[in-house]
Amino acid sequence: MKKVLFFLVVVIAAAGAYFYINPNEFSRLKQWAGFEKASPTKTIRIATEGAYPPFNYIDATGQLKGFEIDLAQALCQKMQATCEIVTQDWDGLIPALLAKKFDVIMAGMSITQERLQRVDFSDKYLNTPSRFVAKKGSDFEISASGLAGKRVGVQRATIHENFLRKLFPQAEIVLYDTLDNSFLDLIGGRVDLILADSVAVNDGFLKTTNGQNYAFIGPSYTEPKDILGNGVGAAMRKGETELLKSFNEAIKAIRADGTYKTINDRYFDFDVFGQ
């Protein structure tokens, strides 16, 4: 009997501690039990990768930061919605969106035909070119034949992977789960070049002490549009027309009232919105 009592006390104490740490869960429990009505202001759950500086990343103190995080908060303010921002690995973003784990993806995801078959995109909220990066002073000839047999690192399932496969089919393509891991192997010498978003490379690598011996090589790519997409937008499940409409309006609104520029200037010295 004593043991049962002790066990019960432990369980209750653990549950109490859990709900004390996660008050959101407690209100969900109350809603579930019928003690509390779901709050009328809708909550939009936005997912990001958290490994793509300066757009979205986790800083030294463990806080989620970045241009897209600030942008998401500004958009939510415009939409008068409460937002919850969560992180999810790149590979799992679209599957988890479809599984309704969250409602929106803002993770530097380009608007491509391939993805449009599965999800809807808002209007673009940024557009930056792609570039190769290699060790300073390396003299790779950036052409289909020039990169034949060279090891090129790229984040998997990105526009950059598709771009490499189509335009540089003779290169030896090495796929990474995150961009950071590809930088590690570039430093380690396991790959010769990396193809990625120019801004992500610049802020996430070239500006850091790790990247000081590396530089862009070759031209900036924004074409062909059918591979590199039409900029980055917020992805949503198909059929969520209300949500889509409010996002598009909010994007227009923050472009017009200067909120976008304020956030832009925190991170960049040029307009990442593109043409």
Binding site: P95, L184, G188, G189, R190
Partner: protein, 230 residues
């Protein structure tokens, strides 16, 4: 479940499965010999040998395989004396890093199985051998070794199956094994359910074959314990 999609990419999955089987088979083969040396060393009369073997087993059984893979792959590329030595020719390749990590890991676990099996050999058998005046080598070859192999089987078949499943971790260092191939296909087609189910079936079939082999082996090695089927 989208069978057509899975069928379309089935050759890719088979390629991945082949890499998985290759890595597991090679690491188990080398790991088995290492494990025997290590398991015997752990029971040695010499303090130093015993201490070395036991610390090796402790380290590799005490840390996650994923961390070992990361340490060997990313760690080696950050140590300059490794990068300047002949070792870099091997460690620069993800394949060899994975093979080394898997081998060292399975050897540590198998060494523990070997050690346990040797300690469980009936003392009477060893004493009988000694009373026949067998030399230490002959005693090992005729009694210790065959008994150890026999006693190891149930535990070792577990280890083999666990290695097959643990090998899914090598995808973390750019190798396109079965799991990584599926993940890559999923991130292109978003058909997570179909592909995860498909590779689960492939793992299942492989596991079934492995346990079948061990069952046959067991039947053969334990045939003296069966009643006469006359």
């Amino acid at each position: 479940m989208d069978f057509q999609l899975v069928w379309q990419y089935f050759p890719d999955l088979l390629n991945g499965a082949w890499l998985t089987i290759e890595l597991v088979a090679l690491s188990l083969f080398v790991g088995f010999f290492l494990a025997f040396i290590c398991g015997l060393a752990a029971l040695s009369r010499y303090h130093l040998l015993r201490y070395l073997a036991q610390s090796y087993m402790f380290i590799f059984r005490g840390s996650p395989l994923l961390i070992q893979i990361y340490l060997i792959y990313y760690g080696s590329s950050q140590i300059s004396w490794i990068k300047d030595s002949f070792l870099w020719a091997i460690l620069s390749q993800a394949y060899w890093c994975a093979l080394i990590a898997l081998t060292l890991n399975t050897a540590a676990y198998t060494a523990e199985i070997v050690r346990g099996a040797i300690r469980n050999i009936p003392q009477g058998a060893i004493e009988a051998g000694k009373s026949f005046g067998m030399s230490r080598w002959l005693l090992f070859r005729r009694i210790t070794l065959p008994q150890t192999l026999r006693l190891m089987i149930p535990a070792y078949s577990n280890e083999v199956i666990q290695m097959l499943h643990a090998s899914a971790l090598v995808g973390a260092i750019t190798l396109m094994d079965l799991t990584a191939t599926a993940q890559n296909l999923i991130s292109r087609t978003y058909a997570s359910y179909s592909f995860y189910l498909a590779i689960a079936v492939i793992y299942l079939v492989t596991t079934y074959v492995i346990s079948g082999i061990f069952r046959l082996l067991e039947r053969r090695l334990y045939r003296h314990l069966r009643l006469n089927e006359a």
